[in-house]
């Protein structure tokens, strides 16, 4: 069963990944990804980052993405924690963890979950910059990254 959490608080990646494999003897690999708030974007400085989401749909979309990963790769368990609210440069935003018997499956499924999260999970970022607040535009490169898992 995927673990999905949306929260304002920070997370302890070590503890979360340990919980993913606790009590299991079938796990041979854990791949993980941590996303952080960058202090610059497209050449301008960022003081803070606000994250909004669509409560209810967000959890459903992430669970669906994890189920899709489970159906594509021979993986054991998945974990997605995504923060919302006001964050600062250097803060952690997202943690994805995937456990499997062998590393290849975990690496691929972890990247797939992030690519799909970027294009399908209803989160929106708003940057605070010296020129004022600005909603972040979706990147075409994220669509391209998600497209490569098609077919």
């Amino acid at each position: 069963m995927p673990t999905i959490r949306i929260q304002a608080e920070d997370f302890d990646a070590g503890r979360e990944l340990e919980a993913l494999t606790k009590g299991r003897r079938d796990v041979g690999a854990v791949a993980s990804f941590i996303g952080l708030v960058r202090g610059t974007n497209d050449g301008h400085a960022i003081h803070a980052m606000g994250l909004e989401h669509y409560p209810g749909m967000t959890e459903k979309a992430l669970a669906e993405i994890c189920r899709e990963a489970q159906s594509r790769w021979d993986i054991l368990d998945t974990l997605v924690i995504h923060r919302v609210g006001q964050l600062a440069p250097g803060d952690r935003i997202v943690l994805v963890g995937v456990s499997s018997a062998h590393r290849g499956e975990a690496f691929q499924a972890c990247e797939f979950i992030m690519d799909y999260l970027k294009t399908r999970a209803p989160f929106w970022k708003k940057e605070s910059t010296p020129q004022g607040d600005k909603w972040v535009d979706a990147r075409d490169s994220d669509d391209v990254a998600a497209q490569r898992w098609k077919g």
Binding site: G35, L51, E52, H53, Y54, G56, M57, K60, A61, H82, I93, V94, M114, L117, K118, T119, R120, A121, P122, F123, W124, K125, K126, W135, V136, D137, A138, R139
Partner: protein, 84 residues
Amino acid sequence: MVTLLYFAGLRETLGCSRENVALPVGESTVSMLIADLRNRDPKWSDAFGPDKRFRVAVNQHMADLPTPIKAGDEIAFFPPVTGG
């Protein structure tokens, strides 16, 4: 009645996060609903204009212009997502 939700930049542009609206009698789709919203005034017409990129979800699942809608549905409009 259906519940309409607006998120992020679209919510700010429209000055509305949530509203209930009556559906016309007979079959309805996302596309027909958007046509009604565009008819409200220039602000709405522009926000849902053909040059604007936005997404729609029906009952918390990604939907499309031809997706049918019915009384009781929750229909959300939002800009392309930027999480992660």
